[in-house]
């Protein structure tokens, strides 16, 4: 390893240190002052407004006591006492001490007396001199105890920063350290690991070997532990060894904010500044740097072990596949959702149980994956790595390598590059970086499910048990209108308008808008196209082109919190220019012109206070929806659709009739009635039950549903074959959700129907 800077090239930093700062307090001139030895009076100095030091003689006090100021029991403050060894000519005399009083916010206009309480006794002292200057105070104390000034201060600091000492004491210690520390060397390189701790490297004549409590200065002094090793460096001419250490995390302090470290060397407190040419390395560069340096580090027990461990941290490379034990990991899908969670699926090959834990990490965020995941069979993984372990070739080999996990509370994970850490039982770690996309929770789940083997996923029932309840628990906000743009004039107060809820597919709009435009019965009818913001951002120009080319009265709506076509319809309805609205999912295909007139006639027949829906077919001309009725199923009432899947000719001769509920793929509805009934529920994954749910809410509000069989629209089962499992799961989930919400209420609704 080459040093970043050499001593010869080093320049001193601008004097930003605090060592020359005057201690606070008004120090008086007391030329005759000595350390009082009468046991009734003390010498005093003020470190700052809140901290004063007293020195005198007395009992061998315990370290942490209470002191009463000016004999007022109400004014009691913490008192840390450091007993000192008396000088040579003071045998048998009471021991000198220094007491550190933290006044905090106690108002003491003029301190005259201090009473130290120890072991049930009060030890009153009068302030004899003071306050004297800090240097004078230390000089007088060291003179009385025949110790160097530095050792007196160090004894104070030691007492203040001892384990479990209060933060206030540490702050006082910091002030003392800044006062006495000498500059010794520089920090030439530092960086902060994802875990928050720091790598520090530099040189010093008296470097802090092993584990030390040090002060970190970033404008203020903070206490932290530094585990440090030394290494020889020639560029200092043998005068100063190099040091490399791991500094524990200091909350809120980034590596680049650190300006100095204070540590105790052989001859007292030293200070190393970060060199002006010092390098702040990114976290990923530190492990490699450390690995290169390790052979040069002296053996120093725990500190070296800590550095060795740090050298094995994630450096951006995939290292699981390099392991000498049969442990491998792969991620099939991983997405951060817009509600702060992460959805991940993959596999961990661990036939010999070498892996102990798996973490998903990103920056300082971390989540233990193996405690959150649900496993599933992945025989393909067994087959792929059959040669890696004898256990994998056995007929009874375990195939349960797959995992699926939903990790909540991982918000902000995309700000850092995420990766997996596999912790082995021997203490080593290996890593696998992962690519993480960002999407809505529903979309993430949809994509995850699309990548699963349907046979495996259904067998384990994993999605339904693990993720659908999670989805149900997630609170989703109502869709809202973000922006409304009329690409062409919308007529004033039109009698009817069409609201198209887009699923984000521009290809569907490329066909639906022309088909509507060329239906002569729809000429002049305003069309509102509403979609999620991201879709509109990408497609606005294309939708506007279609509107312009076909001469449509077109309004484009950017909506927020849109998960599906019905959400988009709900947002679009809010800005529909008419009271009577035709709701149309962008996936719906009219089979010919003139369909709206018949629907509107039925709508008007019921005083425009209803939902009117045509027959909805699949693309193979079988029935997708042709009426919904409430039927008795044993003791309970259920919603039934008698004709689903039947050929369209089954409906020959059917006439318009009232139905219990209607979908919103295509329907005519009153805008006010719909919005007043509360719109669509947020806890469905698909649109079928979601639409029926909304129409039942409308029914409760007095808005009935009517089916017009002679009008047929096609709503194809869109989506790739890979989404078959998703559709199945959505159906299962939504039916359960619907049943849960409505089963107990359908009986009463049936009465209303009759």
């Amino acid at each position: 390893m080459e040093p970043v800077v050499t001593l010869e090239g080093a320049k001193r930093l601008p004097d930003t240190s605090v060592e020359h700062k005057k201690l606070a307090g008004e120090a008086g001139d007391w030329p005759d002052a000595v350390l009082p030895s009468d046991g009734r009076s003390v010498l005093c100095t003020a470190v700052d407004r809140d901290t004063i030091l007293l020195a005198g003689v007395g009992d061998a006090f315990a370290r942490n006591l209470q002191a009463v100021l000016n004999e007022d029991p109400k004014v009691t403050v913490p008192c840390t006492v450091v007993s000192l060894t008396a000088g040579a000519n003071r045998d048998g005399a009471p021991a000198p001490f220094v007491a550190i009083l933290s006044l905090d916010s106690v108002a003491v206009p003029r301190l005259e007396r201090v009473t130290i309480r120890s072991k049930g006794h009060s030890h009153p002292y009068a302030i004899k001199y003071g306050p004297v200057a800090f240097d004078v105070f230390v000089g007088l104390v060291s003179e009385a105890v025949s110790q160097k000034e530095a050792s007196v201060v160090e004894a104070l600091i030691d007492a203040l920063i001892a384990a479990n000492s209060e933060v206030k004491n540490q702050a006082v210690a910091a002030k003392l350290v800044m006062h006495v520390a000498r500059r010794d060397g520089y920090v030439e390189m530092l960086g902060q690991f994802d875990e928050g701790d720091y790598y520090i490297q530099g040189w010093s004549k008296e470097p802090p070997l092993g584990r030390n409590r040090v002060f970190v200065f970033d404008g203020a002094l903070r206490v932290a532990d530094l585990s440090c090793c030394l290494f020889e460096r020639k560029d200092t001419g043998g005068k100063a060894p190099g040091f490399a250490g791991i500094l524990d995390k200091v909350d809120g302090v980034g590596a680049s904010a650190i300006r100095s470290l204070f540590f105790r060397g052989r001859s007292g407190w030293n200070k190393v500044d970060v060199h002006e040419k010092g390098t702040v390395s990114p976290a990923r560069a530190l492990p490699g740097h450390l690995r290169a340096l390790l052979p040069r580090l002296n053996a120093s027990g725990g500190a070296r072990a800590k550095l060795e461990k740090a050298s094995q941290r994630f450096d951006g490379r995939e290292s699981v596949s390099e392991l000498d034990v049969p442990v491998r990991i792969g991620v099939d899908f991983c997405a951060a959702t817009n509600c702060g969670s992460v959805l991940i699926s993959g596999w961990l090959l661990n036939p010999e149980d070498h892996a102990e834990a798996v973490y998903l990490r990103a920056g300082e965020r971390s989540s233990r994956l193996d405690r959150a995941w649900t496993t599933q069979n992945r025989p393909d993984v067994t087959d792929t790595f059959e040669d890696l372990s004898p256990f994998l070739g056995e007929a009874t080999a375990r195939d349960r390598h797959g995992f699926l996990a939903f990790l909540p509370d991982m918000g902000g994970i995309l700000e850092d590059k995420p990766y997996l850490e596999v912790v082995l039982r021997d203490g080593r770690s290996a890593y696998a970086p992962i690519a993480l996309g960002r999407t809505s929770l529903r979309t993430a789940l949809r994509r995850l499910v699309a990548g699963l083997d349907p046979t495996i996923a259904s067998a384990t029932d994993i999605i339904e048990r693990q993720f659908l309840p999670l989805l149900g628990a997630v609170s989703l906000s109502e869709p809202t209108v973000a922006e409304v743009t009329d690409v062409s004039p919308i007529p004033d107060a039109p009698s009817t308008s069409i609201v198209i809820g887009s699923d984000g597919s521009i290809d569907k709009l490329r066909t639906l808008l022309p088909v509507l435009a060329l239906d002569p019965y729809l000429r002049g009818t305003p069309i509102v196209v509403c979609a999620a913001e991201t879709a509109i951002d990408e497609q606005f120009q294309e939708i506007a082109r279609l509107g312009s080319f076909y001469g449509l009265a077109l309004r484009i709506v950017r909506a927020d919190k849109v998960e599906d076509t019905l959400d988009a319809i709900q947002a679009g309805l809010q800005v529909a220019p008419s009271e009577t609205v035709v709701c149309l999912g962008s996936g719906v295909v009219p089979l010919g012109p003139g369909w709206l007139e018949t629907l509107l006639a039925e709508f008007r027949k019921h005083d425009e206070g209803c939902v009117v829906t045509p027959t909805v077919l699949y693309e193979d001309e079988t029935i997708r929806w042709a009426g919904t009725w409430i039927d008795r199923d044993g003791e309970a009432h259920v919603l039934k659709q008698h004709y689903v899947g039947y050929p369209r000719r089954t409906l020959m001769g059917a006439e318009a009739s009232e139905v219990a509920a209607a979908p919103f793929d295509c329907c005519v509805v009153s805008k006010t009635a719909f919005l007043a009934a509360g719109g669509f529920a947020r806890n469905y994954l698909g649109t079928d039950e979601k639409g029926l749910d909304a129409s039942l809410k409308l029914r409760i509000a007095g808005v009935k549903s009517y089916w017009v069989p002679q009008i047929e629209m096609v709503h194809p089962e869109d989506g790739q074959g890979s989404e078959r499992l998703w559709h199945k799961l959505v159906g299962q989930h939504d039916r359960k959700q619907f049943e849960h919400l409505w089963r107990g209420r359908l009986g009463a609704l049936k009465e209303g129907l009759q």
């Binding site: 290809d507 569907k508 490329r510 066909t511 639906l512 022309p514 088909v515 060329l518 239906d519 002569p520 019965y521 000429r523 082109r545 312009s548 080319f549 076909y550 001469g551 996936g587 295909v589 009219p590 089979l591 012109p593 693309e619 193979d620 096609v714 194809p716 089962e717 869109d718 989506g719 790739q720 074959g721």
Partner: protein, 450 residues
């Protein structure tokens, strides 16, 4: 013409019909059968009394365009223009450059004020062109000639299954998804509804074969608006029968004219040739392949052809690509024309050309071929895709000395481009009459026809 059109500002004082023929290509630039047919219609209309014609042909990305206008000129032709169309969506047969359509095509048709706008094809141009014409000229009559099954079938309009090249008899969203698994059934349904919506703007349709008309009627076009009009030939010369050396000489020269694509069945033909026994083939028989583009075909097909060529040896000669003007000369070298297509075909011009030159055909007994060539009258049918059956038919042709003469005698003279134009004019007038005879259901500037 059964009705009398009302006097409008677009109608002309006399009874002359002004026709704009719009083609997907100009034969000067792209010598396909449909391009030639559309241009011949233009020429025929020009030369017919009672009609005027203007020809607008689409050019594509490989043709340099002007910056400010999609309209471009054709050298030495005052009644011909080119239209540069790009941003073509093959799946929807759609042109996304609607800005050019709105500005240039619309402007042009409003200036020309044709009574009839006849789309002889719309591939490359996009079906949106119908909307532009309809909105620009609400009273004009729009006619569309359908050349193959492009509107029905995404597989190059061939109605042949991808992969197996099996014949497809009925398109449906799910069947089409079977050919293109990456495209959902719903998207195929949307494609159909989109194209049919555009077709609803047309007043009449022309197909060169009954077979094609029936398929489109089955697909959803109104049958009473479809007229079957065969394309007309514009070939003045006729090839004489190949002169035989003596009474023992046989009508043993076979020929294939066309592109060497998998759909044209040249592999079936080569396979059949190598199956015919040497004792029947003898030294005098030969198959000459006039055509090229083998190098543009898929590797597997090229390899298959290479293997078959090796087997056929010197029985087969490759003459390469040819010009239409060479046809009389080429025909004079051969006796039989073979048409072994494995797709349905519509009305391939080679049938008319063969008949024009008095050559009987041996063709697949399906679709437009079966309709145009009468088995045992002016040609022979074989089982489509069957090299064995084709070998049998070729054997029959080689062994039956009277067959050629009897089939030649059964050949009817094909229509000329003038006959064709006359038929079109008759159709135009009948459609115009029908438009104004019945009351329009829809008022306004956007009129609904089909």
């Amino acid at each position: 013409m059964t009705g009398t059109p009302p006097a409008t500002q677009d109608a002309h004082a006399d009874d002359t019909l002004r026709v704009l023929v719009i083609s997907h290509g100009h034969p000067v630039l792209s010598l396909g059968g449909a391009e030639v047919a559309s241009y011949n219609l233009h020429l025929g209309l020009k030369s017919s009394p009672g009609s005027q014609s203007f020809f607008l042909a689409r050019v594509g990305d490989d043709y340099p365009r002007h910056g400010r206008s999609a309209l471009m000129g054709v050298a030495d032709a005052e009644d011909e223009l080119l239209y540069h169309a790009d941003e073509y969506d093959h799946f929807l047969v759609s042109n996304r450059n609607t800005g050019d359509l709105q500005s240039d095509l619309r402007r042009f048709v409003r200036s020309l004020k044709p009574d009839v706008v006849h789309f002889h094809h719309f591939i490359g141009l996009g079906v949106e062109a119908l909307h532009v014409v309809r909105s620009a000229l609400p009273n004009a009559t729009i006619i569309v000639t359908l050349h193959e099954f492009l509107s029905i079938c995404h597989h190059h309009g061939q109605m042949v299954k991808t992969g197996t090249h099996a014949l497809c008899r009925t398109a449906s969203p799910i069947a089409c998804h079977g050919c293109f698994p990456e495209i959902s059934p719903g998207d195929f349904l949307r494609r159909k509804q989109f194209i049919q919506s555009m077709f609803s703007l047309a007043d009449g349709f022309v197909t060169p074969s009954r077979f094609l008309a029936e398929r489109y009627e089955q697909w959803g076009l109104p049958g009473d608006r479809i007229s079957v009009i065969e394309n007309g030939l514009n070939v003045p010369e006729k090839a004489q029968p190949r002169r035989l050396r003596d009474g023992n000489d046989r009508r043993s020269r076979f020929a294939f004219f066309g592109q060497m694509t998998p759909y044209k069945g040249v592999d079936i033909l080569l396979d059949a040739v190598q199956r015919i026994p040497e004792s029947i083939w003898e030294d005098d028989a030969s198959l000459t392949i006039f055509g090229g583009n083998l190098e543009r075909q898929p590797v597997a097909f090229r390899e298959k052809i290479a293997g078959l060529i090796e087997k056929t040896g010197d029985r087969v000669r490759f003459a390469g690509a040819y010009q239409n003007t060479d046809m009389p000369s080429l025909m004079s070298q051969v006796d039989w024309v073979l048409l072994p297509s494995v797709w349905w075909e519509n009305s391939p011009v080679i049938i008319q050309e063969a008949f024009h030159h008095g050559r009987p055909l041996i063709c697949s007994g399906i679709g437009g071929m079966a309709e145009k060539v009468k088995d045992g009258v002016d040609g022979l049918h074989f089982l489509a895709g069957s090299p064995e059956d084709l070998a049998d038919k070729m054997t029959e042709a080689l062994q039956n000395k009277d067959l050629w003469n009897s089939l030649r005698a059964g050949i009817m003279e094909p229509k000329t481009y003038r006959d064709c134009a006359a038929d079109h004019l008759k159709f135009y007038r009948s459609v115009i009459g029908a438009r104004y005879q019945g009351a329009r259901a829809i008022e306004g500037d956007l009129q609904q026809s089909a």
